[in-house]
Amino acid sequence: MATVIATYNIKGGVGKTSAAVNLAYLAARDGGRTLLWDLDPQAASTYLFRIRPRVRGGSDALIRRRTPVLAQIKATDHDRLDLLPADFSYRHMDLALDSFKHPTRRLAKVLEPLAEDYDTIFLDCPPSISLVSESVFDAADVLLVPIIPATLSSRTFDQLAELAGAAGGPRVFAFFSMVETHKALHRRVMARLRGVHQLTMLGAAIPASEDVEAMGEERDPVGAFAPASSAAMAYEALWWDLRRRLAVPA
């Protein structure tokens, strides 16, 4: 039975896609059969794996299960790591979901046939609160929230934990992303949030790094082209911490 991990934040540009791509890469490298579903119409994950952003029949056909989900999956260049690509039709996914009686259960239904094919499924979610994100809360076992250590972060995290938790939904973990340790504000916010959210704040912090930015150029996870970089090591530590926590029942 696959564990479904969604990288999510209401805000954009906080490192969701980078986290999804790098963690999925590490999960596969460690021997797990791994799928990354790019749910963002910008198709950034799809782009990073050099896969053409094309979904036969668009998101509508996928959500209505008119095209089998397995037939849409593409292998990446990395062993055991597959991708379910996005295309621009995903911008209408809300509308497609809205036509169902139980729209928030729909993504879980689409994932059902894949449960035995994969050990871990990552969902790279678009920013915003919408039917798509609510459907993600229903489908995911774990919500992984990247947080930039700035003043509003704590409030964002509280809101999210409440929203996801209210539906009896996934376990929620946060981690610091795009950290600039030379900034006193970042250091202060991190110390404070770690104090308040000890149980749900993962230990590893992903630095704001040129190597992460270079992913767009290299079109590969950091671990594949700069395995000794601080960013690659931070993702290793994050993955190790997350695996350790998931081994413990909620």
């Binding site: 050099r50 053409r52 849409q72 593409k74 292998a75 260049d77 597959d82």
Partner: protein
């Protein structure tokens, strides 16, 4: 292992790049070169199990291969330097759509293996078409074995020669006997070198089958010729007999000891192994001398020449030479089966051991006739169940008789065992073993009625007649 493909033009990375004609680009190429040795047993057990073992040395042979080989020695069949060039084929986004391995070795046909990626099936099909690939008729390991003068798939004692029911009996018999001789000849070097005990076993099986053909289909041969060859093969069987019996004794030692309940008794049998090994070495010396002697060396060329010329010889003294083999073999098979049923029905709980032995000898004849002729000429699906019932019956009869022979052999070793250190304890254990052998032989006798009943059942015999077109 994924299939290997070849193309009409010898494959190289340059040829592949030209054939792809810009539709796909090469990613980085990695090259691996290693000297590999191909291993299999002489009878091709690994190949039969779909396991091709080409490894860097004996220490790299997988445990599964060793288990499959069992008692047989794993032989070095060929050594080749294999160069594997692995390249990713990229689409216009520099995304890998397929991984290709180009495998080459000096003197062998270069071939590729394709490792397709999920979601890129159309690209794989296009690459397959652009390269005009076809499945390799021989795997690289098989080609290497052939190039080294070996036989891919190994040499098995179970020979199969396709027969046409309408063909002349002498031609069919000659073809079968030639195939049997090929196996005898192929197993001779391993027998002489004592590579493993199965060489001698397979050699003797084919000699026995040859003797059966000579005995059961007399009208194909001129009487004088037949008598000559029967004598030659009887001799060959006889000079190899003692060595084989002692091979079996050595192999069966653990199983025999297992008949004893007491661990102390089992351990006390150790001197027995010493005596058997000593006798085996002596018997082998005699056998090897005979097999290297003039009579044995002359046998092969003379026999194959006689077989090749058989269909052309005068038919004056060979009333069945031109008879269609379908008819001749069916007549003989049914006659031997009838005889077996008659003999078996006469056997009761108090019958003498000789009666069981006679039935077993007929059983062997029938089995060989069915395997060599029946399965090829009749309805295979209908014959197979009878053959299975016959094998079960032979197993029971064999156990009954083998226990008597084993007891006789062991008694003959008693004096020699007694002279060895620990001999007194060994003799006590031997006494108990003889008792256990007698009990097991009696058990086999008790199983006879059921095994014979299954073989002789009317529907079974009727099915045989139908299968042979009667």
């Amino acid at each position: 292992m994924s299939p290997e493909y070849v193309a009409e033009q010898p494959l190289s990375l340059r040829v592949i790049a030209a054939a792809l004609d810009g539709a796909f680009r090469f990613g980085p190429v990695s090259v691996r070169e290693e000297a590999l040795t191909v291993y299999d047993t002489f009878d091709g057990r690994l190949a039969a199990a779909g396991l091709a073992v080409a490894v860097t040395g004996p220490e790299a042979i997988p445990a599964r291969a060793r288990a499959l080989a069992g008692r047989r020695a794993l032989l070095e069949l060929a050594t080749v330097t294999v160069r594997t060039e692995t390249v990713s084929l990229w689409d216009d986004l520099d995304k890998t759509v397929l991984r290709l391995e180009l495998i080459s070795a000096p003197g062998l046909t270069p071939r590729v293996r394709l490792h397709g990626l999920r979601g890129y099936e159309a690209e794989r099909a296009l690459i397959f078409e652009l390269l005009a690939l076809t499945e390799a008729p021989l795997s690289l390991t098989d080609e290497a074995i052939l190039a080294a003068g070996g036989r891919p798939g190994g040499v098995r004692a179970k020979v199969r020669v396709s027969l046409n029911p309408g063909e002349r009996s002498d031609a069919a018999v000659a073809a079968i006997c030639l195939a049997l001789w090929e196996v005898v000849d192929a197993n001779l070097p391993g027998t002489l070198a004592d590579t493993d005990a199965e060489f001698l076993h397979d050699l003797r099986v084919c000699v026995r089958k040859t003797r059966s053909v000579l005995k059961e289909l007399p009208g194909v041969w001129e009487p004088g010729e037949r008598a000559r060859w029967r004598e030659e093969f009887r001799w060959l069987q006889q000079i190899t007999g003692e060595s084989r019996d002692l091979d079996v004794a050595l192999e069966d030692l653990d199983a025999l000891a297992g008949l004893l309940e007491d661990e102390t008794d089992r351990r006390a049998l150790a001197p027995l192994a010493t005596v058997i090994a000593r006798r085996r070495a002596a018997a082998r010396r005699i056998m090897v001398r005979e097999l290297r002697g003039g009579r044995a060396r002359a046998l092969g060329p003379a026999w194959t020449a006689a077989l090749t010329g058989l269909p052309e010889r005068s038919e004056a003294d060979r009333p069945d030479g031109a008879t269609p083999i379908g008819r001749l073999a069916a007549d003989r098979i049914l006659a031997v089966a009838r005889q077996m049923v008659k003999l078996g029905r006469a056997i009761g709980p108090d019958s003498a051991p000789e009666e069981y032995h006679t039935l077993r000898k007929h059983g062997k004849e029938l089995r060989y006739l069915l395997e060599l002729f029946g399965l090829e000429l009749g309805e295979r699906e209908q014959i197979a169940p009878l053959l299975d019932a016959l094998k079960d019956l032979q197993e029971v009869l064999g156990r009954h008789q083998d226990r008597e022979i084993q007891a006789h052999t062991l008694r003959g070793m008693a004096e020699e065992i007694a002279a060895l250190p620990g001999g007194a304890q060994a003799l006590i254990a031997l006494g108990r073993l003889l008792g256990a052998l007698a009990a097991d032989g009696a058990d086999a006798r008790g199983e006879f009625a059921a095994a014979f009943g299954a073989f002789a059942a009317k529907p079974q015999q009727a099915a045989l007649r139908t299968a042979l077109g009667r």
